[in-house]
């Protein structure tokens, strides 16, 4: 039998028996040249595994975070739109059926829809500034980051309210959406200030 090809030697490292493997293994046991080649293959793989880890030159986390937060805001915006519609629909249904055992406070529902709409408008205003692509000074960036963190925390609380019963949820949601609007207002101010300072 002639020497094993590199393809056969590479295949010999695979787990399990493939056609021809037994004959190749027998040849390997008898042929010093092929054993040496097989050993070099092992050493090459070991050297590949021990190559030093390459590191990125830039910290990409701020960019990842900005894009993720932006996507989350967009999702929240869509969700607010759907919840607003659902709230309006439930009021319409309650009024139409006149079979409401626990009356839904219409004023609160309307206020909730109004607050959500305000939140959407503020998000849209912030998105128009493309905050993820803007360069902010350290102080402004820290304030913006802090506000974004607090908005994210409110969003998580809003997700938790989904698990509550209807009346408790509505009361909690209104407070949280108000808080969200306040934070977004502050964030808009941060971006407006930055834009006016930069002469934009």
């Amino acid at each position: 039998m002639s020497h094993l090809t590199l393809e056969q030697l590479v295949a010999l490292r695979e787990p399990g028996a493939e056609p021809g493997t037994q004959a190749a293994r027998e040849h390997l046991n008898e042929c010093g040249g092929c054993r040496a080649e097989f050993e070099r293959l092992h050493q090459r793989v070991a050297r590949l595994k021990s190559l030093p880890s390459l590191r990125p030159t830039r910290d990409r986390w701020p960019a990842v975070r900005a894009r993720f937060e932006s996507e989350r805001r967009a999702r929240r915006l869509r969700r607010a739109g759907l919840v607003g519609l659902a709230a309006a629909a439930s009021v319409a249904l309650a009024v139409a059926s006149k079979r409401v055992y626990q009356p839904i406070p219409v004023a609160t529902t309307a206020e909730l829809s109004e607050t959500m709409a305000r939140s959407r408008a503020l998000e849209a205003a912030i998105d128009r500034y493309h905050p993820e692509s803007r360069v902010l000074d350290d102080h402004t960036a820290r304030i913006a980051q802090e506000l974004e963190d607090r908005i994210a925390a409110v969003d998580r609380q809003l997700e938790i309210t989904d698990l509550m019963d209807a009346n408790r949820r509505q009361a909690q949601e209104l407070n949280l959406w108000r808080e969200r609007v306040g934070l977004l207002d502050a964030l808009v101010d941060v971006h407006l200030t930055r834009a006016s300072n930069a002469g934009l």
């Binding site: 040496a36 190559l51 880890s53 990125p56 993720f68 989350r72 998580r156």
Partner: protein, 184 residues
């Protein structure tokens, strides 16, 4: 699998807390995951992608995907294994998008001819860099990351035979460029 377990040791001691934070959408949890896996993910991407810039873009896309879908990680396998598969898929997607593979054959020929003419001995890092994108990806995924030919075939949209032949060709070239060939 051993490598996967070792990589999970990159996680901080409070790994469960970090994972729980990330699953709850807490940015601190996401950042802790990024800091823990930034280097191994970048290293994998850099070994597959042609340029450092491409690799950094794929690093960013990988962690964005992790943030989006951490809820789908069911903790029945290693976290590094889950992250690594996302990174490898994104890196291979980048190769496809850049159509590097369309020119692989030509690239291989040019490089092979040039090396055979000059009889230069290269170091392993340079030799690896000289391989075509596809060959380098197969070598790295199979020999270093421990993926099987079947898994590589699925990720690349090719057959296991394609992966096997790419691996053998890559080793033939590495052997030649590293000056390890011996007369039969």
């Amino acid at each position: 699998m051993l490598k996967a377990l070792t990589m999970d040791s990159y996680l901080p001691a409070d790994a469960k807390t970090v994972l729980a934070q990330a699953k709850a959408g807490d940015p601190a949890g996401f950042e802790a995951l990024y800091r823990a896996f930034e280097v191994p993910v970048y290293n994998l991407c850099r070994r597959i992608c042609r340029t450092a810039e491409d690799a950094e873009d794929v690093l960013q896309e990988t962690f964005l995907e992790i943030c989006r879908s951490i809820g789908q990680y069911r903790e029945d396998g290693s976290l590094w294994g889950w992250i690594r598969t996302i990174a490898a898929s994104k890196a291979l997607m980048r190769l496809r998008r850049n159509k590097y593979r369309d020119t692989d054959e030509l690239h291989d020929e040019v490089v092979a001819n040039r090396r055979e003419d000059t009889h230069l001995r290269m170091d392993l890092e340079a030799a690896l860099e000289r391989l075509s994108e596809t060959s380098r990806a197969v070598v790295w995924l199979h020999d270093v990351e421990g993926y099987t030919h079947e898994e590589i075939a699925v990720m690349m949209g090719k057959t296991p035979s394609f992966s096997k032949s790419q691996l053998a060709r890559a080793h033939a070239r590495l052997r030649r460029w590293l000056g390890e060939e011996v007369a039969a």
